[in-house]
Structure formats: C-alpha cells, structure tokens
Subunit: 384 residues, 2 copies
Amino acid sequence: MNNFEWHNPVRLVFGKGTISRLGQLIPPHVKLMINWGGGSVKKNGVWEQVVTALAGRKFIDFGGIEANPQYSTLMRAVGIARKEKIGFLLSVGGGSVLDGTKFIAAALEYSGADPWDILEKGERVEKAVPLGSVLTLPATGSEMNGNAVISRQENRQKLAFGSEKVMPLFSILDPMTTYSLSPRQTANGVVDTMVHVFEQYLTKDVANPLNERIAEAVLKTTIENGKKIFLEPENYEIRSNLMWSATMALNGLIGVNAAQDWTSHGIGHELTALYGLDHGQSLAIVSPNVMRYKKEQKKRMLVKYARNVWNIQGSDEDAVAMAGIDSTVGFWNSLGVKTRLSDYGIGEADFGFIADRLGGNGAKIGENRDIGRDDIASILRMSL
Amino acid sequence: MNNFEWHNPVRLVFGKGTISRLGQLIPPHVKLMINWGGGSVKKNGVWEQVVTALAGRKFIDFGGIEANPQYSTLMRAVGIARKEKIGFLLSVGGGSVLDGTKFIAAALEYSGADPWDILEKGERVEKAVPLGSVLTLPATGSEMNGNAVISRQENRQKLAFGSEKVMPLFSILDPMTTYSLSPRQTANGVVDTMVHVFEQYLTKDVANPLNERIAEAVLKTTIENGKKIFLEPENYEIRSNLMWSATMALNGLIGVNAAQDWTSHGIGHELTALYGLDHGQSLAIVSPNVMRYKKEQKKRMLVKYARNVWNIQGSDEDAVAMAGIDSTVGFWNSLGVKTRLSDYGIGEADFGFIADRLGGNGAKIGENRDIGRDDIASILRMSL
C-alpha cells in the first residue's frame, strides 16, 4: 500500500434541524460575514433558519456569488470583508458559494501582490480567515475538504486550489434544504459525486482494496438513490443518502493514496469556462470518453467497477469494461443528463484551443502524465 | 437517516518509514514523555527509529504499561509527568499503551478529587495534555479515536471512557512495525477489528446504507487478509491492509449514527478482568453468542452480513443468518483463536457475579437497553 497522510478536521453536523446549531458552532466575538449565491436560500426557508439560529448576532452579508464563482465578484467581497475587519466567514448555499468563500478566506490573508496567483501560479496558502458552511446542494464535496474552483470569465479560465487552511471549521448538512433543488441540479449532483469517485477509483493499483471497496460503496449508494429521487424529491432518506454520499466521495478518504486522475475535471472545466455548461453536464460528456480512451490502462478498475457496481457478468474483460461505461451513460441519460457535446450544439471549433490550454508546450495530464495535446483533442472528438 | 455529528481531527500518517516524521509532528518547546509497554518496541527496532527521529530532543520515558493498562501504573506515570511538567505525551506501542497514555493525559488536567471518577462515574474530561502515537499493533482503533479502556486489578474492573480531548494530535502507523507480532497478537487483532465493526453494524436500521456498505468493506478486507497473514507474516501489503482496516473499524466513521451495541465488549471486559483473557480472546467467545441470543432482533443485519461478507446463498433467512455466525466462528478457529469458555477451563462459577456487575439493580445493556441480568447469564451459558 502506498504511503499516505490523512487529516480532516472538519466538524460535520448532519441531519434534520441542524441549522439551529449555528449559534454554538460559530466562534463568539468575531465579526461575521455571510456569503450566499443567487437567492434560492432566501426563498426556501434556509436564510430564515440561519438568522434565527444566530439569535440576534450581528453580521454583514454578501450575496450574488455565482455558480462557477467569479474572481471579480469574490474580490469585491474581499474588499468589503477587509474594510469590515471580518473574522469569520459563513457560506450559505452550494459548492460554488462555499468555494468562493474559501477563496475569499485565503485572499484576505494573502501576503503576495495578487491573490489570483493562488490559482494561476499555485502559490501556497499559508493562512486564511476561518470559515464554516451551511450546505444546500450535495455535489462538490467542498463541505469536507480544502479544495475550491474559481472562474475568471474575462480570461475564460476555471482553476482550482487546495489548502488545509480553508477547510471549513464546521459544515452543517440538513438534507431537507435540498428538497427544493431542481431536477437538473439534483441530476448534476449525482453525476458530480460519481465522477469524483471515478477520478480517484479508476486509477492504477496502489494496493488499497479497502478504499476500492469504499469507493464502490459510495457509487452503489449514489446510483441506488439517484434512481429513486425523481419519483420522490421530498423523500428524506433518499436526500440524506445522496448528501452523505456526495460528502464521502470527496472528503479525502477514498483518495488518501490513490493515483488520482483529474483529466475529466480538467477538460470539463474548460467546457464550462468556454460554453457555460454546468459542471455536472461537462463531466457527463467527458468522463465516459476518458474511460474509453484510457480503457487499456484503466482496465483493471473498469472491470471491477462494472462487476461490483453494475453487477455485469461475463469473462470477456473488454466487454465487461465497456458494459460498465455504457451502464453509466445510460444511467445519466435516464436522469435527463446529456452525454454528448452535440446535444448542446457544440462542435469542434475550440478543440484546438482547449487542447493547447491543457496540453500546450508539451504539458501532460492524467494519473500517468501521459495525456497530451493530441490525446485531449481525441477525447473531445469522441465526445462530439 | 438519523442525525449525526462527525469530527475526527487526528492526523494519520501511514506507511513505510513514517516514524521519521516524528520530529515535525511533535510540537516544539514542550517537555516530552514517551510511554511504552512490555519492552517489545525496544527489541524490534521501533525505539531506535523513534529516538533517531527525535534527533537529540530530550525526553523522559515511562515503560511497563501493561496489556489492559492498570490504573495504579498510570497514576505513577501521572505523578512523574506532573513533577516534570510534561507538555506532550507520546505513546509508542499498541492500543494498551495508547489507552493508558490517554488516561494519563486526562488525569493530568483533571480538576476533580480522584481521576478514577472519569472511568467509574463518567466524569467529563474538560481538558487533557496533548498526545500523539506511534502504533505498533493494529486492533483497538485507539489511534484515531478518543476512547480508552483502563483496568483496576484490585477491584477486578475494566472500564472505558471517551473524549474528543484525548484524540491523538497524530498517529504514525508503519505496517513494518507489525511484522514481529506473534500469531496470537495478530489473530487477536483480526478478531478485535471485526467485533468493533459488529458492535456498530449488527444493529437496528438507521437508514444509512452507505455506512453499512463501508462496514462490510472493512470486514471483507480484514477477513481476506486475515486468511493470508499467517503464511506470510512479513508481507507488507497484507500487514498494511490489516492495519488500515483496524483503524477504519473504529475511527467513528461507520458508527456516526449507528445504534451501537457494545454488549460483547461489556461482557468481554469482565472476562478479561476476572480471568486475564486477552481482549480478542474474550470477544471471540462472547460475540457469536450475543449474535445467536439476539438473532431475531438483529436478523436484518445478520442476513446482510452473511450474504454480503461471506457470500452465503439461500432464501431461508434464519439459516443464512446462522451460517454467517458459523462462518465467523470457523474463521476465528482457523486463526487459532478459541471460541468457548471451556477451552480456557472457565466454568459457571462467576456467571452470577458478571451478570450482577453489568445487569445488577435492573441495569440493561445493548442497543435497545433490553439485555439484563438473566440475559447476560444466558449468553455466558451459551459460551461455555
């Protein structure tokens, strides 16, 4: 088994009515800023629960953090938070609001000239304002990790950073807050959860069979409940299972010593940056084709996935592996998620641009650093 | 899904050569005490690795913490640590040394009159000296939780306490340190790991299928590797899998919202306190009979266990459940672990004493608080 280190100090508070715990969880005597997104939390009762739980405690709030949170928006929040001497940031919303909050937290304490360098140059985050979250959309896993993805529209860029310093002090997950999600948001969350598992699980052998099995447990639970949620969008058990699975997919556990292959996310982020596809939509297009393109290299795990998650029988490993991929695509289609670029009217025009961006100047991505410019273009063509 | 809170800030450092990380992990500028047990760490090279990693840093050491760590021994350590103004405790050894270290850490900061009250009266631990661990025996899960079990020979007592305050700051797990374990220690560790899972998994439905599957993943991996380890006691992969599984069995994850039924541990602790049975030995005797005695109540999970872990086929749920229990007993016997009291020459003499101790004055144990004096006596008779 490959060596690893695992450290995840996030306090996860999960269940019905848990927003009422906020008052105890936020440190006293610090100035509080609450971040939110497009306004759904103000319509579905979440905001009221938050304000009630704070029991008269003062705060300022910053709304309008977008899906795919924008650097310019976040820098406005940084300006306000700095002026107000904010000592704690609370994210109320989905993964985008939380990712944005993580960036604000890091930027506020950043000692370099330009916080964008945290994203573009991978500058290390040495310090951050403490933060917490009330999560309302299960998908990104951001609630229990130190990762964030930030976009910059004017550059058509979508870039990630990660640091233990921006792990939430706590995350409150009340599955009831997810009842009002649209079918599209719910389906995207299912796809995102599954692809998070794939990026860690469908990789080379690090001799960690327990983690392979835990990854399969997350996939099976997500699929089982993803199949049911559209019939019963207000079923607490189904919503709970989807929410807990999304957290477990990306809280570091199943990836402790995995090889990790974030190719689908890399290409998917470019598609979002260029065409505004939802994150889940972009992954549903790219991920099956990364599997197909890398079928030989990933065969050991594609076969395990097909057999253990989809119960596919047979001794022809190629056929089994392909059937697992097809089952995945079929499942996503059944949730209403499209799996081809052409479904969105996207053609080859920007393939060269995307391939250059990720694989220009000889850069290689993937678990073996062997996916270059031409491979990326091929994967995109397969996705048409 | 039942509500839960999960918070586990232990930094787990896993793998070959990781003891060398000690110097970075122990906080600087505090007086250090290193606790150890019967002396095996001084023979198998672990102590040398620890001293080398500390690179000349001064420490005092306290050896001789027993398997089933004794209150009197630990209170001697408390006296020394207090006099020396110790600011950090490092446990080097197995779960007993670590449990003892946790108690020392709590007792040093205890403001009440008698630290024994933490165990006997369940007095809350408000503060503790920080601690870390180098673990050399996978079994108890103590390396990634806030639990400890302490014995007091003169009272024939073995009692547990738990607190977030005594979670290790870090735990270093190098599977190579487990190569020198005896077959008996290794087999006991396998039993202990499995019964930790049982106490959480074989309980009533809390609608958390993901955690049920993760529990099964831990059981399958433990059994698979437990079957192989005696043929290859120095196989790194097998040792790693057993070590990682033991940690995952009791780091809180699979029990986040489980009903929890610690009946086997309760009765097992009494057997250890009275007869000096190893912890694993006591569990191997009691646990199958708790399953048999509570078969109707636990049938849902006994059937899942038999089918998903042991691949037992058939539609007769009673037969399937019993076959799962029999497979467990057969597996433990194959590891050389006995599963009857009579195998150790233990008869009925003390059954009344044990039953009174756990079920006297109408006390009830078990997930449903329905296991009383007579039930405990019945389980013991079934274990003869």
